[in-house]
């Protein structure tokens, strides 16, 4: 499940929408009749999943933005989970 290639390009799944909600001070993922309020790291990852950047690009960008290293495994595991929950889909 977490063996995602670094070249995959995750995108917010069809019919879902990611947006920042000031009232909740959080990114939320909206879908029919539901909403997921995302924590900071989930919001940071999903907001970079635009179907253009590869998983490797996203990890590199996060490491740059947060001045961290070795985020690859965590980001990959979260992306895999989000794919399983159909929050994300992969673009070729």
């Amino acid at each position: 499940m977490s063996e995602l290639a670094p070249t995959v390009k995750p995108a917010i799944a069809h019919g879902m929408r990611l947006q920042f909600e000031a009232a909740q001070d959080a990114h939320v993922l909206l879908y029919p009749e539901g909403m997921v309020k995302l924590n900071g790291s989930a919001g940071a990852i999903l907001s970079r999943c635009d179907g253009v950047r590869t998983l490797a690009d996203i990890v590199a960008d996060l490491e740059r933005s947060y001045g961290a290293t070795g985020l690859g495994a965590d980001v990959s595991a979260f992306v895999a989970l989000a794919l399983e929950r159909r929050w994300l889909e992969l673009r070729e």
Binding site: H14, G15, Q19, E21, P32, E33, G34, M35
Partner: protein, 405 residues
């Protein structure tokens, strides 16, 4: 979506993730989920409709400008999920204007429709206006039963609309309300959904409010019917896998614990009726002694935070035993207030679906009557099936919307 709590016409309450968890009654979170029932007009006459039976005696529909103001005020408080329902929302010719404003404000917009009135031109206009999602209702897999249960000839039309929804790039989301008269067709319903290329299918067992309450004795399935339908659904799921997501919602009456209705009234959900009446749940109009505010008189902030009606069931002070001392009260909030009222006459009682309720037998007795009628589907239980109808509705006395049977 697995935590949804659909009521009647496929209308679902927000899932648990939506609840901000502020249930002390002193600091309610914002009304995250806004439902606009734009009109009670509807070309269908469904026997399981949750709309009030006296809908024809309610006030005039809000004007476009009123709906737009409601959207702005609710969005400013933090509302983000928007359901557009009715009646049939397509009966409003300003639906596109309402969608456009909602989209500009940042709402995620779901149209809950029978599909009647949705042609190519309106579909294009709604898409251009920013509509996010469409949920199409079907009454059955067969033309005969679909048309009988809605008292119209709509099956072919709905099938065309389903194709139109797909062509315009929307996920194909079907909602079928299940009950005694169609639950044995679950296999065929799922096959129909598969042929239509459905991505999501909600098999929502009827909940008994409004017209469905009037018709309860006709609509409540037997336990054997329910179990067969669940087994068929399981097998179908195994066959189609991830291609189609199926949500099977068990009817309340077969449970022993109540649903966490609306995540607690006044917690996250705000519904506005066609005449501007603001409600903490879309069936709340029936509750006695609840002076529901109207958006013509008050702004949404005042209604949500300050009105007695919206504060009435916040927190736990209103609860009676067995809820008051129950360890599960913070999980289910005592269940559905409307069901408590309909079945016990007192909206402060525990939802009698709960087997800890002293009135639980009123639920089990209704189920037992359904068991007795098992295998005699065609036999009318006393009163004839009542179709949702404007003329019948006019005759329902105001103040007795529930017509407790």
């Amino acid at each position: 979506m697995s935590a949804e709590l659909p009521v009647g016409h496929g209308l679902a309450a927000p899932n648990a993730a939506l609840a901000p968890g502020t249930h002390d009654g002193r600091s309610p979170g914002p009304p995250l989920w806004l439902l606009l029932e734009l009109t009670y007009r509807c070309p269908l006459h469904c026997v399981f409709c949750y709309n009030p039976t006296d809908f024809a005696n309610t006030g005039a529909e809000l004007a476009t400008a009123d709906w737009l103001r409601v959207l702005r005020e609710a969005r400013a408080l933090g509302a983000v999920q928007l359901g557009l329902s009715g009646g049939e929302p397509l009966a409003r010719d300003d639906l596109e204007t309402i969608v456009a404003e909602a989209h500009a404000l940042g709402f995620y917009i779901n149209l809950i429709t029978s599909g009647i009135g949705l042609n190519e031109a309106r579909m294009r206009a709604l898409k251009a206006a920013g509509l996010d999602h469409i949920q199409l209702s079907f009454q059955d897999s067969t033309r005969e039963l679909n048309d009988f249960l809605s008292s119209t000839r709509t099956f072919e039309l709905k099938s065309q609309v389903a194709a139109l929804i797909r062509q315009h790039g929307y996920p194909m989301v079907l909602n079928v309300v299940l009950h005694r008269l169609n639950i044995d067709h679950v296999g065929e319903i799922l096959e129909m959904a598969e042929r239509m290329g459905a991505h999501y299918v909600e098999l929502a067992n009827t909940q008994y409010y409004g017209w469905a309450w009037l018709n309860r004795e006709h609509l409540l399935p037997s336990r054997a019917q329910l179990e067969r339908a669940e087994a068929v659904t399981r097998q179908f799921r195994e066959r189609v896998g991830n291609r189609m997501q199926i949500y099977f919602v068990v009817p309340d009456y077969f449970e022993t614990r109540p649903k966490a209705c609306m995540s607690g009234l006044g917690s996250v959900f705000l519904a506005i009726a066609p005449d501007g009446t603001a409600m903490p749940c879309h069936a709340a109009r029936m509750l006695p002694g609840l002076a529901l505010p109207n958006v013509r008189d008050l702004d949404i902030r005042t209604i949500w935070y300050d009105s007695p009606a919206f504060n009435r069931f916040r927190g736990e002070d209103w609860m009676k035993e067995p809820c008051r001392s129950c360890p599960e009260r913070s999980k289910d909030f005592g269940g559905c207030r409307c069901q408590a009222y309909l079945l016990t006459g007192d909206p402060d009682n525990a939802d009698p679906v709960c087997d800890l309720s002293p009135y639980h037998e009123r639920v089990t007795e209704a189920v037992a009557r359904a068991e007795l009628r098992a295998g005699t589907q065609g036999t009318a239980p006393g009163r004839a099936l009542v179709f949702r109808d404007h003329r019948i509705s006019i005759a329902v006395e105001p103040g007795d919307p529930a017509r407790r049977g």
